[in-house]
Symmetry: C3
Subunit: 207 residues, 3 copies
Amino acid sequence: MLLSSLYIIGITAEAMTGALSAGRRKMDWFGVMLVASATAIGGGTVRDILLGHYPLGWVKHPEYLVITCIAGILTTGIAKWVIKFKGVFIRLDALGLIVFSIIGTRIALEMGLHPVICVVSALITGVFGGLLRDLMCRQTPLVLHEELYASISALSSILYLSLLNGDVTQTYATVITLTVGYLLRMAAVRFKWRLPNFHLESETSAH
Amino acid sequence: MLLSSLYIIGITAEAMTGALSAGRRKMDWFGVMLVASATAIGGGTVRDILLGHYPLGWVKHPEYLVITCIAGILTTGIAKWVIKFKGVFIRLDALGLIVFSIIGTRIALEMGLHPVICVVSALITGVFGGLLRDLMCRQTPLVLHEELYASISALSSILYLSLLNGDVTQTYATVITLTVGYLLRMAAVRFKWRLPNFHLESETSAH
Amino acid sequence: MLLSSLYIIGITAEAMTGALSAGRRKMDWFGVMLVASATAIGGGTVRDILLGHYPLGWVKHPEYLVITCIAGILTTGIAKWVIKFKGVFIRLDALGLIVFSIIGTRIALEMGLHPVICVVSALITGVFGGLLRDLMCRQTPLVLHEELYASISALSSILYLSLLNGDVTQTYATVITLTVGYLLRMAAVRFKWRLPNFHLESETSAH
């Protein structure tokens, strides 16, 4: 299936970003595999726990875990090469974000949950892996500062839900959402689209 | 119901504290909504996951999530006003703490769990939201240093359990626990009651 | 049963390491009990949540929680004594690691899960408590930098599975795994065995 193959690409790309972060913290191989796996499948894991959707994906399909661990370890060997091809990387990550968002939406849909929860499910699947990576590597979570990322996950989910609601078939809805979401994310990176920031001084002085 | 209305007040107040913390970290709107929601409903979520109490409250009632997101975003607009009315804020937070503790106790009771677990359930409901907020905003968790907070959550739970055990009706038990717990918390803030600290020097010198 | 008694020793030892870390962060008694309990039973809790293995151990047996809280508080009184007997401590921790790994393996086995997941279950049980302790006390997680720790957990699990597979009885498999795992861990500490590190410069310069 289209979505399954894209899912494998998505977790591989995310595992590589995790391994690179672990490398910046001088972690050992175990740390690299842990951070790579948490980045790649942490979002889906958190989603499944919150929705009570058992068994978890990687418990049922341990091969996903094997893929993320191998991708993590291989990345340590080709890190310099990976960094040079940063463009490829950002593209794979953008694809992964939309794939994860569609999968999150579908799982909540299949559980018969409210559309709001479907969008939240997409968001958690798309965003929590990177959040866990940044917490484990003690970096300020990128998703809370960066160009539009979470918003694109939510928008993709809303688009996908609307298409299904408008009687578009699942395959078309998937292809359209993937295309639009991917282009939006690449545009957000290129034009540095951001959400408004909320900046509160620690010491607010009365005026 | 009394407890339901108080619950709405509680999650709104907690969402506002979350948004203020996010503002101190210059997060964007998504970050503000995430931290606000985690602060408000994170404690109940962690409790439900630990007890295996599915579906989670906000999955069943997505409107709670909508409330915390809106409260978070509105707070960014009125932050300076909110900070001036710090007194109101501390009172709402104190009320929230006791309401969360009573709800936590009751859920564990209804699941037929041991009284020790009922108190733990109260504690997790009352305290974990703030803990998540501080972890996400990379502050040293207040609850581990501040005036009595967790202890008042535990005491409220014990009081509530004792009242029910002494054949007081649920409504009276709720009102009495709310009053006593609230006054205790306000007294702890005013008189700076604290638990003993445990301070271990990193390099302990022999004497 | 052998494993049950060893489990009690293991959670007591782990609770003490948690309390010592909390002391270095000047936490109050509540913080000490929280960190002690998270260190001791956090690994099993994370494992049970990931595997959907409900009710959690300490919800069913609240006495485990009572033990870890008491161990944590007592440690604050005898911290200087504990630090002097560091050798005893490292031995208890090594024993705990292997006991946790065997228990993790068995729970996954009893749930009929894939051998890869049995090893992951051992790893999570053995390693996540310490990881939570270090995150809560804002230290760089030791497990990601230290002498072989996670690897010994995984190796113990693989050894235990192989023995059972080779028709060794459960009791013998337990005793053999405990002995070999313990000796491996002590050797790793003494000879400073480590996994290769992956160190990536933040600013990689082309050459």
